[in-house]
Each structure stands twice: as C-alpha cells, then as structure tokens.
Symmetry: C2
Subunit: 327 residues, 2 copies
Amino acid sequence: MAVYTDVSDEEMEDFVALYAIGEVVSFKGIAEGVSNSNFLLQTDTGTYILTLYEERRTNPADLPFFLDLMEHLAARGLACPTPLHARDGAVIGQLCGKPAALVSFLQGLSPRRITPDHCAALGEAMARMHVAGADFPRTRPNDLSQDGWHALFKATKGRADKVAPGLADKIKSALAELKKTWPSDLPRGLIHADLFPDNVFFRGDKATGTERVSGIIDFYFACTDFLAYDVAICLNAWCFEADGAFNATKARQMLAGYRRVRDLSPAELAALPVLAQGAALRFLLTRLFDWLDTPPGAFVKRKDPLEYLRKLRFHQQVGGPGGYGIL
Amino acid sequence: MAVYTDVSDEEMEDFVALYAIGEVVSFKGIAEGVSNSNFLLQTDTGTYILTLYEERRTNPADLPFFLDLMEHLAARGLACPTPLHARDGAVIGQLCGKPAALVSFLQGLSPRRITPDHCAALGEAMARMHVAGADFPRTRPNDLSQDGWHALFKATKGRADKVAPGLADKIKSALAELKKTWPSDLPRGLIHADLFPDNVFFRGDKATGTERVSGIIDFYFACTDFLAYDVAICLNAWCFEADGAFNATKARQMLAGYRRVRDLSPAELAALPVLAQGAALRFLLTRLFDWLDTPPGAFVKRKDPLEYLRKLRFHQQVGGPGGYGIL
C-alpha cells in the first residue's frame, strides 16, 4: 500500500511519450503492491499500470526475469500483466531515475471473503501458470527458501522474544527440523511464491454463478522452486479462517482445482505438510523482520507474525495429505 | 495521500449496487486527498471516484454543504466532481460504517512545474467558480479564519519554538496585527479555500499550445468568506518558486485571468497584502500543528511550516497591489 516516489506530470508525459499509447489523460498513485510505487494511468488508448521499482525492495538485476516472465505467461494466455514495449523495443525504462515498466491493466477484484469457489478457481489458475511456465527459459533461485530463512532468523533472533516469549526457540527448532525433512527431488519450475488473495483478481460469472480468475499480479517474488511449494503457500494464504481454523473444504477445492489441470504426484502430495511448514516459516520470518523494522506509529499496517506461528504449528501436526482434505 | 479504510470487494459491490452505474469492474485505493479515503472505481459504465469520509478529518454535518456545492457548480458548467445520486436519490451513503459519496471522474493532471499560463487559466477558473457560486443558497463559516488561527496558535504555541526559535512570538505579533488590519466589508461568497495545484487539473490544448483547467477538486474546505481571500490563498500557493522567490509574472497572469471573468474592486485589490498575510498564517498554523502532531518516522510527508513563515514575511513587506504585479 504505497507510493514511494512522487512523479510529476511532465515526467509522466515524457515517459509515456516513449510508448505508442497516446497521450496521458490522468494518472493516480494507487495503494497496491507493497514493494514498489504503482500508478493507474489513463491515456487516449486505454488504462495501464505503471510500476516504478524501488531499489530497496526489488533488485534491478532481477527485473528482466520478472518482466520476461510476465510476457511469457501472458503470451500463453495466462491473465497476468503484459509488459508494454516502448517504441525502441525496451520493456524497462527510467522514470525519476528509477527503473520503471508499463504493463497492461487487469480487471477484477481481490476477494476479501474467500469462498471454496475462489479456492477452486485459484487452484486451476495456479496450475495453468505452472504449465505455462514450463518452457520459460530463465531461472531464478528462491532467496526466501532455507538460506534466506536462516539469514532472516539471524537478523531477528535477538529481538524475536519481544514479540512473543520463546519465539526464537520455536523458530530455531522449526528451522532445524525443516533442514532434515525438506524434500530434494520434487518437480521444479516457475513459481509465483507470493500468491496471496491480494495478488489474484476474480470476476463473477453471473450466468453460471461461479468465480473465475481474471488476473494474477505481482510477480516480484517469482522464482524457480518446487511447484508444490506454490501450492503449500496457497494452503497457508487461502485456507485458514480469520479465527485461525483450517478450512479443509477450501483446501480440498484448491487441490482439486489444481489437479484438474496438472496432477500432483504421490511424492508431491506426501511432501505437502513439510512444504506448508516451510511456507508458514517463510512468512513468519518476513513478517517478524518487518514487525521489528517498522516503528509502531508508522502509517503502514504491520502484519502479525504470530498468525504464521499458529499456521506453522497446524502444519507440524498434519500427518499427511489427508490433513488437507485429500481423500 | 492516503487510504485510511480498507473496503472489501463485497462491501464495494453492495454499495455500487445502490446506484444505476453497472457492475464493479475494478477499484483501487488512490493516493489523492489528504483528508479522506479515495478509490478510483471502474464499472461497466465508466470511471468514478468514491470518497469515504473519515470523521477525524471531515465533519459529517458539513457533507451536505460540500456535496450540494459540487452539484451546484457542476450544474453551472464548472469542471468539478458531480455527486451521483443513488436510486433512492441520496448523494451520501454509508460504506464500512462511514459516510461515502460517489462523484464523477475528471481527466487531467495536476501541474508540478507551474507556468504563468497555468496561473492565468487558474485565475479564470477561480473567478468562474466564484460567479457560479453566487446563487448557491447555503453558507458555511470559514473555521480557518481569525478564530481558527487563534485556536491553532493556542494548541501549538508551547511547542512552536522547537520548530524555529522565536516562531511563537512571530505568530503572536502577526495575529495581533491581522486582528487590526483584517478587512470587514469586501464582497463575500463561496470560496474553495484550498486551491493548491494538487487540487486543480489541467489539460494542454495542442492546437493553441495553451493550458486549460479541466477540473477543480477537493471542496472539503469550501466556505463563505471574502472572494478575494481565495485569490490571496492562490497568491501563496501558486506564485512562489521553490527557492522562496515571489514570481510577479505568475501573480500578474493569475490576477489578469481572474479579472477577465470577475473584476476585483479597488478595495479588494488594496486588501490583497493583508489577505495574503492571513492566508500565509493559516497554512503556517495548520502545517505547524500537523508537524508537531506527526511522528518523524511516520510514512507521511510532513510539509514545512516555515515555508509559510517566509511567505508571511514577504506579504508583510508588500506595500500594495503593485507588489503582486498589478500595474
């Protein structure tokens, strides 16, 4: 939720003039994307999103990966933002001295009250993304896997117990456990790695009364990792209720939706509890880091790290894929 | 620059269903307006702005005044947001338990680099607004005139010298001076009272190479006061350069633009230096209050109160309207 960089009208007009999309009619900074500055841009020819990459959040060296990936997926029919090419062919430009890109605008709303229908549609869309990413030629390591978790733990362990007594010890033992149990031989490929409801748009289909995914956005954590890890992230992000209860119906719908497009192997299914623990630990650690890093008076909503400690505990107690509604 | 209230997709859809504007296609919180939460809403039928009024910023009792005023001005051809009526006729609804209104969307860009052309166009548009407001039947006192300044001074004087040594004394003597010099018999009417560049949109006319005002927004300080006080606010807000220099060409253009539509009487012209001192003091005091009220680490840009101390000093040294480029 942020606009970190102030862009003047002249700067915006000069930037947009590099593209064949007509003249600027209006632009508004929008509260979307936690990492970068985003603007909703209207020109004579349509509506676009302009993203200005803030170095502290997105490594400029990774931008070609992210933008090529979006273009690759969009070209295969996935509803995701497509980068626009400037007249000189470039997809990464400069605005206010920072890297910037223009992408297509996607209609749809991010759901707040998640239904099993949303989860089914999400599962299908995620699997389609995995399939569409299979021939993407680039790779990018996941900096928020084992090594990243250890680095985040190192940066937070001294202050973790201020958030909850005993937290540092709990994280330490989860890290040690996951080091032993983490799989090594599952199908790998392109994953989104941050597929939270905020990053998925839906539009309802009045005729059938069902929800369909109209957009997947914010590919700035995308990387190469186990495909089932993306599924495990979504078990965390979509299938718990606000009171902390795990909704097995939602999980079952999500997994069933996924498997209609790409089946999960027995090894992938068996690994889900461990992968889901890893995903819970990843968000526990990044939230803990942000929590300790954000002054309480700041006008930014701090996300509760302990929500993910509870999710971690849930996944630690799941005996197998049956715990996620797989029959 | 803020979105203070999180609105879910269901809440937004339910709210929009009360209006005959089709279905929600997308909505984004936008970084516009310092007081309330604003959303850019797209439906099947077009683009709209939804404003959710935060009680701490806008007194709900004043909303009928503001919205009736916008409707009144828009009906007279002024480019300002027009409130939409719900199917039941209401212009003020409820969203997330707060008052909310839907208004028309205006194209155009707020200028960052102000030119004399902008000032001429602004002057004309401001005068048109004053003329269009002449038969507006409601009135609202200006709570940020003399009494308001004294209240703000009372709330800040103990800490003012932390911002600059001697500041409290300077404000105190300016208040005393303005109490004596403030005019009492100038033409009164509807004023915007916050006509900063952020609140005015322009679109360039390629054919003639000139700028025209395509929108005036944010009427949430509008009130009944001297019309020339609006002009004095604009002398402060539009005619100083970033280095503090007063640009008399811009002032002359603005006043000339204004007088092409509505002439300023000799008494109004003679009062401009005093009114401009009052305007400078008003923004000095509100900025000082916000400065002392905002923690330094907060993600909100604090505006420098001392900018307006320097402007106040400039206006105190102006002998007459000649100082503003009036020949």
